[in-house]
Each structure stands twice: as structure tokens, then as C-alpha cells.
């Protein structure tokens, strides 16, 4: 085998590992950040005892999760029950595969074993990136549904049923909302989408300005896909105890928990990339490192938005949620896409 290819593959594997562990670390950080932010919103302190400003709470929680006794209820379908948390977590991680964090790959100025080392700011820059995100995103539904069904518990069953209906429905408007962006860009490649935003108005033609409706629809559907409040009906602790996760404890619950948060983080990355101009910002063209900072700021903003929504909006009732999707979001997104197509046709005919 060509040595250069081998080195590239090794580097790529290292990047994948780094991204996966980075996401897990971000999940840990996010739990603490969320609790602190929620605390501020609700006039509390949040966890502030372990370590400076409660930052070591991540370690404490992680250790707690790992050392919990593995309880498998006797009435569950063992294989599916054990599989479900993994099935839930992996697609959430996979979706991060096509998210670029900078414009250009970094070529190291020195050679290792006679090969140049190129660090790509993405894991794969495939030409069907958006399609891939949608496809992988819907895989995540399986974990929750399987967990709900295999638990053999009435609350889990209701949670699983709600999940399957909710997530399948919300994928439609989400896809159509992205369609109106894709119509403008003309490519499904994530880097193309960012580069398009970079190429007009000095890099400020972000899609949130051109397609605000698509942005809102995408954000709402993203919340529903990630099972976040006000669309956290699979869990609904006030109705279904913990929904699909009722029978799960210890690290198995931890994986579900991680899946939800990683889903949320990746969603924020995708939102920032597609609608908020990714790494674009003042001087980001000249100093590429700034781009990563800008991207992280945008991601943090979207995450904050998600927490903000959680703390201030009551939960939607299930049937209203479905009605909202099918009778409002879907027609709206289709209309948005149609108007976009019409405008494009007029402009470029």
C-alpha cells in the first residue's frame, strides 16, 4: 500500500477518535453548563461545590454513572434492552462526521516518515453531506424506540410510541427546510454551503438572513429530533416518569443521556454551519484559527438558545405536537421552498 495513503488513514482515525472523545467531553461539560445556566434562570446556584465553579461535577457524575450497579430487570428483552443505548448513541456521534470546522486543511510543515501530514477540519467532506445528516439523524430514533419497547414497561412503551411518531414526523419539515437552502447553494456538500455564505456581502450573507423561516423550522425540528423541551415527549418526566428510559439505570441510562446531549451539540454545530455562516466572521479569512473560535461561539449561542427555550416554555401536548408538525410546519416549509424556487427561477431565468 502507498505509504502516504496509510499515513492519511492513520491521521484520519486519530481525528475521528479525537472528535468522538471531544464530543463525549462536550457532553460532560454540557450537563454542568446546562445545570448552571438553568440554575441562573431559576434563581438557584446549580452545582457549585465540586471543584472551581462546580466544573469537576462532570467527574463526579461520570464516576457515579460508572460505579452504579448494573440492574437489568427480569421482564425485559435482554438483547434489545442492552443494545438500545448504543443504537441511540452511535448515530448521534456519526452525524458529526460531515461537519467542517474550518475552511482549509492544515498541512504540517514537516514530514513524518517521509510523508506529509494533512489534518482535515472535517472527517468526510462528502458531496451528499446534508442528506447524510438527515439519514443518520433518523437512525437515532431506533435506539429510543427499541429501548422503549424492550423495557416491557407501560411508561416506556408510551414513550417509545411517542418517539417513533414524533421523530418520523419532524424529519419531513426539517428536510424540506434544508431544501430551500440547498436550492440556493446548489450543492449538498457542507463546505460548499459555508463557502457560498462566504462569497457574498463580504462573508455575511448567512442563511439565517436569507432564509429566516427555514432557520426557525430547522431549529424547531432539531429540538424535536433531539427530544429537547418543549418537545421532550419521549421522556416527559411529569407524565411518563422517564418515558423510554424508565427501566434504565447506571451507565445504560448514561448512554441515553449522552446521546441526547451529543445530538443537541451536533445539532448546534449543523445549525451554526448551515445557517450562521460556520467559521465566518471578522478577519476569519485572514486568520483561520479565528474561524474555529467563531464557530464555537455560534455553537455556544445555539446551545444557550436550546436551554433558554427549555426553561421558559411549557411542554406541548402530544396531539398538538403532531398537529403543529403536519398542519403548520410542513405546509410552511413546503411553501418556503416553493417561494425560494420561484424567486430563483425568476432571478436566473
Amino acid at each position: 500500500m502507498d505509504q502516504q495513503l496509510l499515513v492519511d488513514i492513520i491521521v484520519q482515525i486519530i481525528i475521528i477518535g479525537a472528535v468522538a472523545s471531544g464530543l463525549m467531553a462536550a457532553f460532560g461539560a454540557m450537563t454542568v453548563v446546562e445545570r448552571r445556566v438553568l440554575g441562573k434562570f431559576t434563581m438557584r446556584y446549580g452545582p457549585n461545590r465540586v471543584g472551581p465553579f462546580g466544573t469537576l461535577q462532570i467527574v463526579a457524575d461520570g464516576l457515579k454513572m460508572f460505579f452504579k450497579e448494573e440492574v437489568i430487570p427480569s421482564h425485559v428483552d435482554r438483547l434489545v434492552y442492552l443494545m438500545a443505548p448504543g443504537v441511540s448513541l452511535v448515530p448521534a456521534l456519526l452525524a458529526a462526521g460531515v461537519v467542517p470546522i474550518a475552511a482549509q486543511p492544515l498541512v504540517l510543515p514537516f514530514e513524518v516518515f517521509g510523508s506529509t501530514i494533512t489534518i482535515y477540519p472535517w472527517m468526510a467532506d462528502i458531496n451528499v453531506g446534508v442528506l447524510y445528516i438527515l439519514a443518520v439523524g433518523s437512525l437515532g430514533t431506533y435506539g429510543v424506540v427499541l429501548g422503549g419497547w424492550s423495557s416491557n414497561n407501560k411508561y416506556s412503551l408510551l414513550g417509545g410510541l411517542r418517539t417513533s411518531a414524533q421523530m418520523l414526523s419532524y424529519e419531513l419539515p426539517m428536510g424540506v427546510a434544508l431544501l430551500s437552502v440547498l436550492l440556493i447553494v446548489g450543492s449538498m456538500r457542507m463546505t460548499d454551503i459555508v463557502n457560498f455564505q462566504a462569497s457574498y456581502l463580504g462573508g455575511y450573507l448567512w442563511f439565517i438572513f436569507i432564509q429566516p423561516i427555514a432557520f426557525l423550522i430547522f431549529f424547531i425540528c432539531g429540538l424535536a429530533e433531539a427530544g429537547r423541551s418543549p418537545f421532550d415527549l419521549p421522556e416527559t418526566e411529569n407524565e411518563l416518569i422517564a418515558g423510554f428510559a424508565t427501566e434504565y439505570g447506571g451507565m445504560k441510562f448514561g448512554l441515553f443521556f449522552a446521546a441526547e446531549y451529543i445530538h443537541m451539540i451536533v445539532l448546534s454545530f449543523i445549525t451554526a454551519t448551515i445557517f450562521l455562516g460556520g467559521w465566518l466572521g471578522p478577519f476569519s479569512q485572514q486568520i483561520p484559527v479565528l474561524g474555529i473560535v467563531y464557530l464555537l461561539i455560534k455553537v455556544a449561542f445555539v446551545l444557550f438558545l436550546i436551554i433558554w427555550v427549555r426553561v421558559s416554555i411549557p411542554r406541548v401536548r402530544f396531539d398538538k405536537l403532531m398537529k403543529f408538525c403536519w398542519k403548520f410546519l410542513l405546509p410552511l416549509s413546503i411553501a418556503n421552498a416553493a417561494v425560494t424556487a420561484l424567486v430563483l427561477a425568476i432571478l436566473f431565468f
Partner: protein, 593 residues
């Protein structure tokens, strides 16, 4: 009025009325057991009486009363909304067990019987079940006469006077084969709760029966709702109670009058002041004590503060049930409740179990900083009150979760004996503070908020408006209150001041008698109802002239209001059921008592 009623009753149902009496303003009619249904329908339907609200049903065991009348009697407390009148029916039962060994309702022993009035007043359903459970009186033609407080396999009826008191060994699983405990049968450990019978009409094959509770985040305690589900649609809800039953009534009968006050705190533990007030006023009614005006004002101020605190708990938990646990509203509400609890702590040292009111006045005078603290609180609270409105009132999601959910029409509500904000949200402006003012409510200007929508949102708006009215009442009372004695001068009821004891022989005797023996109210029966944040809290007292109440009855508003769950929830979704539980505003300590 009473003469006219008796005349008409004698004409309509001859030979039903045995006797009648008046005591402390309560009218009592003694009825023969065989005519109870005729009298009930007459009282409910006749246009001159219209006793449409059945307030309470409770049994009396006269075993130790030394009367020649039959051992068991059932008391019906009725109220006419349109005429604003109370009446009590006492039905003497023919007692089959009287001639036997008078045992405590062992299995197979015949129970005294009376006809059920469930079809006349649907609220009688649970009240009769409770009477059956605790007093062992069988109601014929009752739709589902099951134990409601005690476990299904319990032996005996605890409120009977010959039921063994205390000294009972505690029975554990390992003692199952111990002959020492053979007499207990399978009383305690045998039956897990899922063996509890479900109503026959529940379709357990075609539908899923989901047990919400007893441990569930949204049932506000240990309430079990056996919910029959068709998909996510609720077909039928059967509440199961008694997990927190602590026998307050039995305890009260074995304590001196004064010593029951701390128990009141623990019934509706989010409004102890109102509980204390209702109990203390019931005893005061029994003893006919004059209360100084200063005390009346203090009681009003504290009770209205407590009403705000109770509504804060309701709003917070309701928002949490509807909006999810991390929602901001609960802690905004608890923050304000915290301020009120701080005031209570300043007043009496306790935050939740205040026991501040005593028969004849207050336990000790108000601290000097009280008025300023309340003023500061009112100022701060009106700001927060605005915040609650901003957060919820016009929030479209909040509206979509509450509007049209859990409709309880006025006639249904009255039939089910619903009181408090639930009834007012159905458009019936029934507030005892207004229609039969106690304390000094008649000197204060406030409105009774009502709504006609009768749904969860109407209950929300009514309670929010009540917060506003409570603030108004407190402000007025603060302006009108004048310094004065903090307890009555009646030395038979309240302790004499310390300085008198060293100078007056008589005061010393009073002090000694009160402390060692307590006071002895005259023989008689009274029923007093207070307007609690959750509805009518009724206390029934039967005195035999000793220092302990012979019979103490508690009518918890939550207990009666909870009965409407099925009416409100059927046909809705599970999410609506949670909303409805929140909007009924129950406290399980009071439901189970």
C-alpha cells in the same frame, strides 16, 4: 325558617322526622333510617329548601355516650347555595350488632345499614365509602362500597369506640406464622397494592390499565390513579387513596381539644394557618367564646398570607407539571412562598407547622417587626405577581395546555360537592368569606373572582385573581387593625396573663385547671367550615362534656375535590390528566388525613 321547613317536611314525608334541635346556630333534624332517601330528595329538590350541596357525611358511634338511642348514627351536613343555609340530618341506624358482643366489625359480622344517597348527591360516593371503611356502616345500593382509607383486607373499623387503641404489636413478614399474631390474619403484610380491586366496569382486556402512582412525579404525593387507557386517551380514572392515612380523626378523639391544633398543621401542610383557623373556630363555636377584634384581624392577615403561599405552591407545581421540571416558574413561586414562611417563622418560630392560633386567640402576641415585614412582602410580591402573568398567562403553549381541558360544569361541580376555586371557576360565586363571613371578613372589601369557562384555564385565572384579592385583604386589614389583647379574657378558655397569677388566687386556679385538665365544652354538636385555599375545610365536633372531643370529623377539601378527577379527565389525554391533577390542587396529607 326552621318551623316552616319542619312543617313542610312533616307534610311531605310523614313520620320521618323524630326530633329537631338548634345548637349554636346549627339546625339538626333527626330522621328515621327508613326515610332517609325520601327526606334527602325532598331537601334537595324542594324549591323552599334546595339543599343542593352535600358537604359531609360522617358516622357517630355512641357506644360510650351513655345514651339510650341506637349505637350508630350517620350525620349529613347539607348546604343550600341559593338560600345560604346549613342543615344537619342525623339518621339513627338500627344496629344489628348491638345485641351481640358489640365487636369491632369482624369479618362476616352484620353491619348497620342505611340507604345510600349517591344518586341524589354523587359526592356521597366517597364520603359513604369512608364512613363504611372507618365506622363500619353499610350503605345499601352504593355503586362500589370498598374500603377507601384502610387496606382492602383490614380487619375492623377504626373509628368505632371499641376498636383497640394502641398497644398493638407491630407485625412483620417474619411473624406470619407466629401464633401470637394469629388474630391479625393477613392484615398488614399480605396484600400488595396491585391486588386492590378495580371497578368492575374497567375493561382490562381491551384497554391498557396504567397505574399512575403511588410514586409518580405528578401526583403530588402518594396518590394512585388506576387509569384505563385507549392509546393515549383516558377512558376512566379510578383514584386510590389511603397511602397516607394517619387517622387524624381517631387521634383527635383521644386528645384534648387544644392538643389537636398541631395535627391540623399536618393535614393540608401547605396551608396550616387556615387549617388552624377552621379548627380553632369550630371549638370556639362549640364553646361560644368571644374573640377580641385585634385577634380576628391578625388571623385574617395570616390566613390570607397563607392563601398566597398555598397558591404559590399550586402555581409552581402546576407550571412544573405542565411545563416540565426545569421550567422557571416553580422556583419563582417558591421564592415568594419562602418570604411568607420567613414571616411565619418570625411570628411563631415555625415555618410550615405553625400552630399559631389557639382557642380563644393567638398563642402569643405578634412580634413588633411583623407589620413592616408584611408591607415589604406585599411590595415585593406585586412585582413577582406581574412576572407570573408575563411568564404564563398569555403564553400560547400554556393556553393550549389549559384551555378547554378538564371541564367541570357548575351543576356537575355542585353535585360532586366541589368547593373553592374549582367551583368558582365554574361560575358559582360561593366563597364563605363572603356569603357567611367569619372573623372580620365582613368589614373588608374584596371580590370573589369567578369565571364561566369551567376549564383548567378558568381555574388558573380564578386563583391568580384570588392572589390579587388576598393582597387587597391584607392591605386593608393592616390599615384597620388596632392594638389589643391577643387572647380572650375568658379565663375558662385562655390562660391568664403571667402577672395575674402571682396576685390573684382565681387566676392561679384557672391556670392550674387549664393546664392540667383543659377546658370542658358543653355537650353538643357543631360543624364549622372555613374557606381554605383549596375549598371548604369542615370540622365537626361532638362534645360529651369532657376535655376530649367525643367525635372529631374532618372534611378535607382536597379529598372531596379529588373525586371529580374521573369526570374531568375522561376522554382527554394522559397529558391532560396531569394538567387536571395540577389544577385540582390537592395535598395528599389532607386527602388521606
Amino acid at each position: 325558617m326552621t318551623e316552616k321547613l319542619i312543617e313542610k317536611l312533616n307534610a311531605k314525608v310523614p313520620s320521618a322526622l323524630k326530633d329537631h334541635s338548634e345548637f349554636r346556630g346549627d339546625t339538626t333534624l333527626f330522621i328515621n333510617a327508613e326515610h332517609v332517601r325520601d327526606v334527602a330528595s325532598f331537601l334537595k329538590d324542594d324549591e323552599d329548601t334546595q339543599y343542593d350541596l352535600l358537604v359531609d357525611i360522617y358516622g357517630t358511634d355512641r357506644l360510650k355516650l351513655g345514651q339510650s338511642s341506637p349505637r350508630f348514627a350517620v350525620n349529613y351536613e347539607l348546604y343550600s347555595i341559593s338560600k345560604n343555609k346549613f342543615v344537619r340530618l342525623i339518621v339513627d341506624l338500627v344496629d344489628p350488632a348491638r345485641n351481640g358482643n358489640g365487636g369491632s366489625g369482624k369479618f362476616g359480622e352484620p353491619l348497620p345499614k342505611v340507604a345510600s344517597v349517591t344518586d341524589i348527591w354523587p359526592t356521597a360516593n366517597w364520603l359513604e365509602r369512608e364512613t363504611y371503611d372507618l365506622m363500619g356502616i353499610e350503605f345499601e345500593n352504593h355503586p362500589w362500597l370498598q374500603r377507601i382509607m384502610m387496606p382492602d383486607n383490614w380487619v375492623g373499623h377504626p373509628l368505632r369506640k371499641d376498636y383497640p387503641l394502641g398497644g398493638e404489636p407491630v407485625y412483620f413478614e417474619k411473624d406470619r406464622n407466629n401464633p401470637r399474631f394469629a388474630h391479625l390474619g393477613k392484615q398488614i403484610m399480605a396484600g400488595p397494592s396491585f391486588e386492590t380491586e378495580l371497578p368492575e366496569e374497567m375493561d382490562t382486556d381491551g384497554h391498557m390499565v396504567l397505574n399512575l402512582g403511588p410514586h409518580h412525579p405528578a401526583t403530588h404525593g402518594v396518590l394512585r390513579l388506576a387509569t384505563e387507557l385507549d392509546g393515549e386517551k383516558v377512558v376512566r380514572v379510578t383514584p386510590e387513596l389511603g397511602y397516607l392515612h394517619s387517622g387524624f380523626e381517631k387521634t383527635g378523639e383521644n386528645k384534648r381539644y387544644e392538643k389537636f391544633i398541631p395535627y391540623c398543621d399536618r393535614m393540608d401542610y401547605v396551608s396550616p394557618m387556615n387549617n388552624n383557623l377552621a379548627y380553632v373556630m369550630a371549638v370556639e363555636k362549640l364553646m361560644d367564646v368571644e374573640i377580641p377584634e385585634h385577634v380576628q384581624y391578625v388571623r385574617v392577615i395570616l390566613c390570607e398570607l397563607q392563601r398566597i403561599a398555598s397558591h404559590m405552591i399550586w402555581l409552581g407545581t402546576h407550571a412544573m407539571d405542565v411545563g416540565g421540571t426545569p421550567h422557571a416558574a416553580p422556583l419563582y413561586c417558591f421564592m415568594m412562598r419562602e418570604r411568607i414562611l420567613d414571616i411565619f417563622e418570625m411570628v411563631c418560630g415555625a415555618r410550615m407547622t405553625t400552630s399559631y392560633f389557639s382557642v380563644g386567640g393567638l398563642r402569643w402576641p405578634l412580634p413588633g417587626a411583623f407589620m413592616d415585614a408584611v408591607r415589604a412582602f406585599l411590595k415585593e410580591f406585586s412585582g413577582y405577581y406581574h412576572d407570573y402573568h408575563v411568564m404564563l398567562t398569555k403564553n400560547p403553549l400554556w393556553l393550549s395546555r389549559l384551555k378547554g381541558i378538564g371541564i367541570l360544569k357548575a351543576e356537575e361541580a355542585i353535585a360532586l360537592g366541589i368547593t373553592g376555586p374549582l367551583l368558582r371557576a365554574a361560575g358559582v360565586p360561593l366563597d364563605l368569606r363572603k356569603v357567611r363571613p367569619y372573623c372580620v371578613y365582613d368589614q373588608l372589601d374584596f371580590e370573589v373572582p369567578t369565571s364561566t369557562e369551567a376549564d383548567s384555564y378558568a381555574r388558573y385565572t380564578v386563583r391568580m385573581e384570588e392572589l390579587q384579592q388576598s393582597m387587597r385583604i391584607i392591605e386593608q386589614a393592616m390599615n384597620q387593625i388596632k392594638p389589643g389583647p391577643y387572647r380572650t379574657a375568658d379565663r375558662k378558655v385562655a390562660l391568664p396573663p403571667r402577672h395575674e397569677i402571682s396576685t390573684s388566687m382565681e387566676s392561679l386556679i384557672h391556670h392550674f385547671k387549664l393546664v392540667t385538665e383543659g377546658y370542658r365544652p358543653p355537650e353538643g354538636q357543631v360543624y364549622f367550615i372555613g374557606e381554605n385555599p383549596k375549598g371548604w375545610l369542615g370540622f365537626g365536633l361532638i362534645s360529651d362534656g369532657t376535655a376530649n372531643p367525643y367525635r372529631l370529623r374532618v372534611r378535607g377539601p382536597s379529598f372531596v375535590n379529588l373525586q371529580a378527577t374521573n369526570t374531568m379527565a375522561r376522554g382527554g389525554f394522559i397529558s391532560d390528566l396531569i394538567t387536571i391533577i395540577g389544577s385540582i390542587d390537592i395535598v395528599l396529607g389532607e386527602v388521606d388525613r
